[in-house]
């Protein structure tokens, strides 16, 4: 068997990394905001963030096309102002991965922040420490194990995104074909060996990520001991 074109792997990693960074920044900001504020419509806003978790990816893809398509409100804005086209480009794949991984990131970060005892933040306040420094030096480091779990989940979800990606980014070899798309289309074309190559590779990647995360958690919980 010849080694297939590796561009889907490079693209998948690039898409998953970028969407994870976006999901991390957005998820942390949203979880922080939602955890500290009460406002009318808060539960509706939260439901909206979590919605992609329960929707079929094709529904997410359809929604994204409506928003980011050439005639969609955001798509037109991006094209007119920045000359960026999302549909049928790898940017579309990043947006699809971002939307489906954000709920996972949000949930992990929210749970992680809730586990940080508010007394630690209050002690820091009585010491005259600013809210930003408290976030950086107390809340964030103490929530880090949960945030890291969210990052791994978001990355894995971004790496595996198929339905929404296919709808918004399409199948353009070398441009929008990520590993999950490569698996589907090589199998469809009867290239079972190639599909198998990608299946094995992505499974090994997933296993490596989970093993590393578990090992890291054991190490840090040993190091920190119990307070």
């Amino acid at each position: 068997m010849t080694v297939p074109d590796l561009s889907p792997l490079a693209l998948s990693l690039r898409v998953a990394l970028l969407s994870t960074v976006l999901a991390a920044v957005t998820g942390i900001a949203l979880a922080r905001f939602m955890g500290r504020r009460e406002f009318p419509g808060k539960s509706a806003a939260e439901a909206l963030i979590l919605l992609p978790l329960v929707l079929p990816p094709t529904v997410v893809g359809f929604g994204l096309i409506m928003l980011f398509g050439v005639n969609g409100p955001i798509g037109r804005l991006l094209e007119d102002w920045f000359g960026i086209r999302v549909v049928f480009t790898w940017a579309g794949a990043v947006i699809a991965s971002f939307v489906v991984s954000l709920p996972l990131m949000y949930q992990s970060v929210q749970a992680a922040f809730e586990k940080v005892d508010p007394r630690w933040e209050n002690v820091a306040r009585t010491m005259g420490v600013s809210e930003w420094r408290i976030f950086r030096k107390v809340t964030f480091p103490l929530a880090w194990p949960g945030i890291l779990a969210g990052l791994v989940l978001a990355f894995a979800r971004g790496l595996g995104e198929f339905g929404a990606t296919l709808m918004i980014a399409g199948f353009i070899p070398g441009e929008t074909v990520t590993v999950p798309l490569a698996i589907y289309f090589s199998y469809e074309a009867g290239r079972t060996g190639e599909a198998m190559f990608w299946v094995v590779l992505i499974t090994l990647l997933g296993l490596a990520a989970i093993t590393w995360l578990n090992g890291w958690r054991r190490k840090t919980s040993r190091r920190r001991g119990r307070e």
Binding site: R119, N122, V123, R125, T126, G128, L142, G225
Partner: protein, 216 residues
Amino acid sequence: MLKAEFTKQLPEFDLQAEFKMDREIVAIVGPSGSGKTTFLNCLAGTVSPDMGRIELGGRVFAEEGGKPLRIQDRRVGYLFQDYALFPHMTVRENILFGLPGQPEPSHVRELTELLGIRPLMDKYPHEISGGEKQRTALARALAMKPELLLLDEPFSALDDETRLRCRNELMRIHRDWQIPVLMVTHSMDEARRTADRIVRIEKGRMAELPIREASL
């Protein structure tokens, strides 16, 4: 001078605080759930009173119709019940957290020497004993040179010998620093041995106990 006259609604009753103190040690005693910790929290600012006024040395912490003063600006040191040391920071980092980017000030050095925690400065909270945690938390609460020190059950987790030692250190610091110290405890014996005055809270109502009566 600390003056606090406020009410705060609690699940089963209202806390009705009417309290004044000078540069002395005052113990607040009372059964659990009587509003002792809520009283301290209102002074520190982690909880806001519903009505009334709190002021310390002419600085207004809270008053009706006004925005409460930020916790950061109150200069109130607070020793929480189980110390709440930052688990991911060393003893040194815990104590100096409110003084970033500065060399260790001389008063912190003296304080940590007095409390006997110099040899522990590079240890993490899970590596030190209960008494050492208590002293670290006390040093941390005092590092910012507060104008009021709040202690929530400061000695309850300590064995008799450590308790005696910590209490003597606290009284010595109080003598040297001359700041008002307000201590919540459920132990009348501890209150009698440490405080200049004792105030009892029961179901949110405060009443001063004559120290002689309390010692009977």
